[in-house]
Symmetry: C2
């Protein structure tokens, strides 16, 4: 990391976000949920979905397209299922409560499934299956998203990055936790290429002429214009399986719109008549009670054995480890709890601005008077 990056204790960062949400009128318990989901993203190393996105939520509340107070309601339910309307509330609160509802149903009735409409961006998809894993269940979460991905043989963004997350407990120190977009990558990755001055590899994006541009800065502009799209997992065409990633994206769209009677596709753009409008996102959550099938210990031992067999298999030249989904994130959480969360200079400036806007003068930002402070300084500060 450059000397422009400081490391901040995760508890301090969490408290900053929590107080910021409260300052915007978010009830205390709901602010806790939002801060929890966001800091978990930073801890897992998914920097696009944590403190880096805090301002976006604040801005959307200011724009009036996210309700600071959660107005979600259960539209209908059975002992195993529910349809929830998020009321354009903060997606983290809606999603956490919906997943909890699925878990409660699975606790009593083996399986719980909850479909959500009219929600907003809920942070990392992988947060919610983790809740089920802690209760010795398998958890699944899906969300649609504003259109940014072109279908196979298409060049227009009509699907979101539509993530899939699946968590399963194991007898290892970490669970199996898959948390993936159904696109090859996300816009955030192209932003990183642009910042680094690197070209974007072919296979990730497509423009309206069917070309795969490599100029990362130009691509970012084209995304805004709608003249370039991300490609589905598997890339363009069918040769490498692009139709499979595209199909998985549509599966997520159906799970998140058809089961809840919600919006989909282009209607999720977040704009109406050129003005910001609620995103009307849909989610789908499932919790499966393992004990309804097999003893939990059997399940965990088999999941762990699958993980061990894969990790022990022959490595490709130049690689000395094979990672299991969730393994890198598990190690990152351990590390960041010790070292703090890296905050690059541009993000510090945004945070300082927010601090003043939200009246959080008690927080010790700017972190440093100069660029020479060390990790230890920050850890001390956050402790």
């Amino acid at each position: 990391m450059s000397h422009d990056t400081v490391y901040v204790d995760h508890r301090e960062l969490r408290r900053f976000m929590r107080e910021g949400f409260v300052a915007m009128g978010v009830p205390s318990d709901e602010a806790d949920i939002c801060a929890d989901v966001l800091i978990e993203s930073d801890l897992r190393g998914i920097k696009s979905h944590g403190i880096g996105r805090f301002k976006m939520y604040i801005d959307r509340m200011k724009d009036g397209i996210i309700s600071p107070v959660c107005t979600m309601r259960i539209v209908s339910e059975t002992e195993n299922t529910a349809v929830v309307d998020g009321g354009d509330s903060l997606g983290h609160v809606v999603a956490k409560r919906a997943m909890q509802l699925a878990i409660d149903k699975a606790e009593k009735h083996h399986v719980g499934m909850v479909a959500v409409r009219n929600s907003t961006h809920f942070g990392i998809c992988g947060y919610y299956p983790s809740m089920a894993v802690e209760r010795d269940m398998v958890g699944l979460a899906f969300s649609n998203a504003r259109p940014s991905v072109a279908p196979t043989f298409g060049v227009e963004p009509v699907l979101g990055t539509n993530p899939i997350s699946f968590g399963a407990p194991s007898d290892e120190v970490y669970p199996f936790l898959l948390d993936i977009a159904t696109s090859t990558t996300q816009r955030g990755k192209i932003e990183v290429y642009a910042l680094e001055g690197s070209p974007t590899p072919k296979g990730l994006t497509i423009d309206i002429h069917g070309n795969q541009p490599t100029d990362s800065k130009a691509l970012l502009k084209m995304f805004v214009d709608g003249t370039a799209s991300l490609l589905p997992l598997g890339g363009a065409g069918e040769e490498l399986g692009g139709h499979k990633g595209y199909g998985l994206g549509v599966m997520v769209e159906i799970l998140c719109a058809a089961f809840c009677g919600g919006a989909f596709g282009k209607a999720l753009s977040g704009f109406e008549d050129g003005r910001p409008a609620p995103h009307r996102l849909g989610h789908f959550f499932a919790a499966i009670n393992i004990a309804s099938f097999v003893p939990v210990g059997v399940f965990k031992a088999i999941t762990g054995s699958i993980m061990r067999e894969i990790r022990a298999s022959a490595k490709a030249p130049g690689h000395d480890r094979i990672f299991i989904a969730g393994e890198k994130e598990f190690e990152m959480v351990e590390r960041r709890k010790k070292e703090g969360v890296p905050i690059p200079r541009p993000l510090q400036e945004i945070m300082i601005q927010l601090k003043h806007e939200l009246g959080l003068e008690g927080f010790p930002f700017p972190f440093f008077a100069d660029d020479t402070a060390t990790v230890q300084d920050v850890q001390r500060m956050g402790a």
Copy 2:
């Protein structure tokens, strides 16, 4: 198609397979199921999983590693879940009955999930969700498979092609029906390249040295030796998302082994001490009752609208259609019901051999005395 290929009426082909199973000692109702699943594959145009694989099932029954009489049993169940032991019976029978069990549970209790162990190859994964779709439900099916896919940063085949299938009814003439392997492709595709004398594109396979060989014939030998693997959806490494396809493959492995206390990974090779042994495959089926969430008409209209919005979006140059998962297969079924199923000459020879072996002398094979017969001849014969 070359003049070596004949077109056979699907009812005739189905009857041939049905009688073949019966001749092997498969009970009449079970033979019906097997023939149904296999002919559905041929009708959908998935030639690797239909009549082309008929001999494999016969051989495995002869080897004693598949039981001709279904001995599956329910190990445990709740109103929403069940664990089934397939007893090394024909996978089609086990799978159809397990999916039916999931549907019956969902009919009464909103959601049904059935985990299956000790099964065998069940044909096309997409057959089973179709059963749910016909009952106005969403259906999901998963299976593990003998190891052929290398994990990200690995070069050893430790995962199967582990298919995922998801079906949802729509207000269109066909449902949304995804049926995909979590690998980029399957061995059958490399066999086609080899037959055509075409190179295998990079991105589909990896050898133990980490190279991506393009010599299709050499690749087939390497698969047998275990010195080459298929790549997960997204390809080698992480740049194009290979870790996502790999993660989905592990998710399927967990669903199909941990919930049923079954076998996984290398244990699914079908060999023990160098001799054929039961494959011990696992499956996982889910049925979700749509009416427990929203009126079925609402669900179908939204799913149909998603399909229409995608189909109507801008096409890539050189393409005039965007396909929905299941659309090509739907059209192929219509076409093959009229034109018959194409049977290339090598497959005809296998069928003639089987006909004699199984004592099915009543069947009008060989189809032709020479290569000049027409589609009409065959249709007439099959009618």
